[in-house]
């Protein structure tokens, strides 16, 4: 039941941002500062999520060599910058971490 509610809630907060601008923007315009603030949300949220994925493990800071995720992030960034491809980045990341875990 709880999981059902989480999925339904998540679906709702995903649905609204998807459809609202398309439905309304032909009629009204967002204030300028609102658009500018929204412009930085993707950068901020992605950076925060990446940082948590790479540096936090079980609520502790993990910068050690035993945590290989941040090392795998380096080739992932490189491939992302070079290819500008979501698929390329994902494959580079998965392969890097798989190889790192295999060898170390």
């Amino acid at each position: 039941m709880d999981i059902f509610l989480i999925i339904a809630g998540a679906a709702l907060v995903t649905f609204v941002p998807r459809v609202l601008p398309l439905m309304l923007l032909s009629r009204i315009n967002l204030p300028d500062w609102g658009m500018r603030w929204l412009n930085y949300v993707p950068i901020a949220v992605m950076s925060a999520l990446i940082a948590e994925e790479l540096f936090i493990q079980d609520g502790e800071l993990s910068l050690l060599a035993s945590n290989m995720e941040w090392i795998a992030a380096l080739p992932t960034f490189w491939v992302a910058i070079r290819t500008r491809s979501l698929l390329g980045s994902v494959i580079a990341g998965i392969l890097s971490l798989m190889l790192l875990r295999f060898f170390f």
Partner: protein, 244 residues
């Protein structure tokens, strides 16, 4: 190439006439990406303890890769429902921008029909659609539905395939599959920064977000870390832009 086609088919659709099937065809180049990310999401969801029915429901009504990874990770970690939903809200706020950017090309439709167009909007279908918009004043509704629905069905199939195979994959870590999510975020971040060409401010905003996320996660909780970092760093970006 374009001129040639126009010459051969003089009566072929001045604008607005791209068919549903053309939309499906234009979706094909993105299918491999959907398949692999959707497959990884299905495996991660399954190993996080979700049932096949929950995974199906997620891919059908949520239909957002990053949100599905986050939901399964946070459910497995025992986070509260509210913090999961708020984190997903922030992650998917970027859709506001995608939807807003497409809105000029769908002014010919009623709000209700625009709702249907937007309900299946993703990073990838946006990418294809905005590319299409470069040569048109309006985007065909049928074409957009073809594009969206092809991507949608492909995603659901990939998710369920991952979920079924996930039953036999006991440790997705061994294959690096748990890294699909951070890698996807890295891809989305890099593409966002590269398309905006505001490198200095964007990098500053990113670094602020990293510091706050790590700090708040250590002192408080990881889900609050993402929320706080997003609010503060986006506001900083707006401030820097204004005072520069």
């Amino acid at each position: 190439m374009k001129l040639e086609t126009a010459g051969l088919e003089p009566h072929a659709a001045p604008q607005n006439e791209d068919s549903f099937l053309k939309g499906v065809k234009d979706c094909l180049p993105t299918l491999l990406g959907y398949l692999s990310i959707g497959f990884a999401a299905g495996v991660v969801e399954k190993t996080a303890g979700l049932t096949i029915a929950e995974i199906a429901m997620m891919s059908i009504i949520l239909y957002a890769g990053s949100a599905q990874f986050i939901a399964s990770g946070m459910i497995a970690a025992g986070s509260s429902a509210a913090s999961i939903v708020i984190t997903i809200l922030f992650v998917n706020l970027r859709h506001l921008l995608l939807s807003a950017a497409l809105s000029p090309y769908f002014r010919h439709l009623t709000p209700l029909r625009n709702m249907l167009v937007g309900s299946l909007l993703t990073d990838e279908t946006f990418g294809v659609a905005i590319h299409k918009s470069a040569s048109r004043r309006n985007i065909s509704e049928k074409w957009m539905h073809g594009l969206n629905i092809a991507a949608y069905l492909n995603w659901i199939i990939a998710n369920l395939a991952g979920a079924f195979l996930g039953q036999w994959i006991t440790s997705p870590e061994r294959f690096g599959l748990d890294f699909a999510l951070p890698a996807m975020f890295i891809g989305l971040l890099v593409m966002a920064v590269q398309s905006r060409k505001k490198y200095a401010i964007d990098i500053a905003v990113g670094l602020i977000a990293v510091l706050i996320a790590v700090g708040v996660s250590l002192l408080w909780s990881p889900s609050m870390g993402v929320i706080t970092a997003t609010l503060v760093a986006a506001t900083c970006g707006m401030g820097i832009e204004k005072w520069k």
